[in-house]
């Protein structure tokens, strides 16, 4: 009798036991106060669940369903709509980025020399304006 699983108590209160199982459960209940306590718990919890009133949807929910049947709506689910919005943003960004026009990537050398030469000088060269390196006096031979 001790091998009877405790879950039989839920099956018992739900009317899901066979006649043999009912006899076993009732015999165990008659002899085991712990099982009787558990049975009370199960019955109480079950009653609590079954007494829950139906959760009402927001006002207009059913009318909204009828107004936009799933296959005629733009997106059946908010998550689908969100993914569509993300995809639209990605497409927009891709289209906005300047694209390679297909021309020769090598710069025209003459233009490059003229431009660089006009804006470069030794005075403006940051390397040339660095302070000269002098060895510390204490390290001189």
């Amino acid at each position: 009798m001790n091998s009877l699983p405790e879950e039989m108590l839920s099956a018992y209160v739900d009317g899901e036991c066979s006649p043999d199982e009912i006899a076993e459960v009732e015999a165990r209940l008659a002899s085991d106060p712990q099982w009787r306590a558990i049975l009370l718990e199960i019955e109480s919890t079950r009653a609590s669940l079954r007494s829950l009133s139906a959760q009402e949807p927001p006002a207009g929910f059913v009318d909204g369903l009828l107004a936009t049947p799933p296959e005629r709506s733009n997106g059946p689910r908010r998550t689908g709509a969100a993914l569509a919005a993300i995809a639209a943003v990605i497409v927009g960004v891709v289209l906005a980025v300047p694209r390679d026009t297909g021309g020769d990537a090598t710069p025209v050398v003459a233009t490059l020399v003229d431009t660089h030469g006009a804006t470069s000088s030794f005075e403006a060269d940051p390397v040339s304006t660095l302070a000269p390196i002098v060895a510390p006096s204490g390290l001189e031979p």
Binding site: D14, E41, S44, T45, L52, A54, Q55, E56, P57, P76
Partner: protein
């Protein structure tokens, strides 16, 4: 549409609230419940051709449950808790359901929401929808013995969460 088979509009109008209630008990919040109902109704629309007149609400509950379980598999949105293998703790008696106050529904819903998904599904289908163990077994594609275990352990965990 064959005799005895409702139209999609009839289901949305007459059973939209039922679907929402089941979805809300499973998902635990309004936004997810609305999403579940919309997805379920899409499947209803596709499945009406093959629907055999019978327990319409059982069929609808099965669909919305499958939508929920599919979402869970994809997102694992909700936290799960470790379960004792042998929950043999005897808990003190609680007040009967008709003795509690207005906020009790919210307390029960909060307790339901922390159950692991597969246990919440079993308890909701049994105690909210009123399906038999066989029907839950078919709906969730698990053996009846597993259904029985999940219902019992789910109720025990729920009881612990409520005390």
């Amino acid at each position: 549409m064959p005799d005895g088979v409702p139209t999609w509009e009839e289901i949305a109008r007459d059973h939209g609230r039922f679907l929402y209630n089941v979805a809300y008990r499973l998902a635990g919040n309004d936004a997810d419940a609305q999403d579940l109902v919309q997805e379920a109704l899409m499947r209803v629309r596709r499945g009406l051709e093959s629907y055999t007149p019978g327990s319409l609400e059982g069929w609808l509950a099965r669909i919305v449950t499958n939508v929920f379980l599919d979402d869970v598999r994809k997102h694992r949105r909700r936290p799960t808790i470790a379960l004792p293998e042998q929950p043999d703790l005897v808990l003190p008696p609680s007040a009967a359901a008709d003795e509690v106050g207005e906020g009790f529904s919210e307390e029960v819903q909060a307790a339901l929401s922390v159950l692991p998904d597969e246990f919440r599904v079993a308890v909701v289908l049994c105690d909210v929808v009123g399906l038999s163990y066989d029907e839950i077994s078919v709906s969730t594609k698990v053996p009846v013995g597993t259904v029985r275990s999940r219902i019992h352990r789910g109720r025990r965990m729920l009881r612990e969460a409520l005390t």
